[in-house]
Symmetry: none
Subunit: 226 residues, 2 copies
């Protein structure tokens, strides 16, 4: 499925340039020449990204941006602003507006593409955290704070649960002891890194057969294997 991009600008040449390049790169592009059209298309087509010029007749880019954010249907769509003045950058990225990136004119098509890719990559991978993690017979239920093995509950402490969860959420990726200390214990560890080992041991003990998922990578850290 192609990613959809809405381009908002009133200058036909810019529109043409941007549209051509984005289409070339495999995106589905729709365009709008003014604020009213932009808002309407944003709501009806739910694009994955909006490229928005600041300088527009009637409703300017700032206003459109604000309006987009206020509408629940479009509030979360990433926006890249096009601006002629470097001085406007602060306002563009400011809190009230919340654009996700900006480009100052003149910009090269390649530059635009880089930004588009970067922003889309960021938003695309930002999947909402799953409520349940399942690996074979092992089930981790985050909201319920329950772990089961073959449907049989496994008792464990809060720290152990968090440790297991963090590892499972990054299944496959090796986590160093320092990393784990930061993420599980949160405050910058005044804690001995060996503490992680002890908790891993207790965790392994409790989850029994499921401990086959918990891998030690000597000299590096621990890893959850699927």
């Amino acid at each position: 499925m192609k990613l959809r991009i809405l381009v908002v600008d009133d200058e036909p040449e810019i529109i043409e340039l941007v549209e051509f390049n984005l289409k070339q790169a495999g995106y589905a592009v729709t365009t709008a020449a003014d604020g009213a059209e932009a808002l309407k298309k944003a709501r009806t087509q739910t694009p994955d990204l909006i490229v928005l010029d600041v300088m527009l007749p009637e409703m300017d880019g700032f206003e459109i941006c604000k309006a987009l954010r206020l509408d629940a249907a479009t509030a979360k769509v990433p926006i890249i602003m096009l601006t002629a003045k470097a001085a406007e950058i602060d306002r563009v990225l400011g809190l009230e507006l919340g654009a996700d990136d900006y480009l100052t004119k003149p910009f090269s098509p390649r530059e635009l593409l880089l930004r588009v890719k970067k922003i889309l990559a960021r938003f695309q991978t930002e999947e909402k955290p799953k409520e349940q993690l399942r690996f074979g017979d092992l089930l981790i239920d985050l909201p319920r704070h329950i772990v089961t093995w073959k449907n049989k509950p496994i008792e464990m402490t809060a720290t152990e649960f968090k440790l297991l969860t963090i590892l499972a959420q990054r299944a496959g990726r090796v986590q160093s002891r320092d990393q784990l200390l930061r993420d599980v214990w949160e405050y910058d560890s005044l804690i001995d890194t060996r503490t992680v080992d002890t908790h891993m041991r207790r965790l392994r003990e409790k989850i029994g057969a499921a401990s086959k998922h918990l891998d030690t990578v000597r000299g590096v850290g621990y890893r959850f294997v699927e």
Copy 2:
């Protein structure tokens, strides 16, 4: 590591001026006087940025630009075009060429430096370090801390993994033993440089056929060849 800039122009005065200023600013500069030379150097030296004059004998800047884009090895290098005519700007930044910025002659050295910095900053920050390195049948997965050859995992120790990774990330460039000690062992090595040899040997042993990628450069160090 200094950023490398290739300057392409046929007028010696311009070359000299640009080269002096860029070097002053801490860049590594190489120059080319015509299209053929430019293409060759662009491919062999993999500069981080190319400053390209439009007006050149034989092959003009537009053609060179196009040729650079068509070659995978140079397609992603940002280009700043130098042009005498403001009227050419559209073409320079336009669809078919895709230069990343332009300067109209005459330009001041400060102006050039500003552009160079701007462009380099943009493209430099976009590059995220790769999570996977693939060379033929050899795959190095950094976050997973796994190396495979023809999809078959290769066991190795943490040090060996780091050594291989560092070499692979700098594929093609020879690394001295001292360099490797610094980067792999991190602290300023109280360690014998011959230790590197031993680890290279163990590494080669373990990765078997893939060791064809590991080159010894007599008298200098080791190199990862693609």
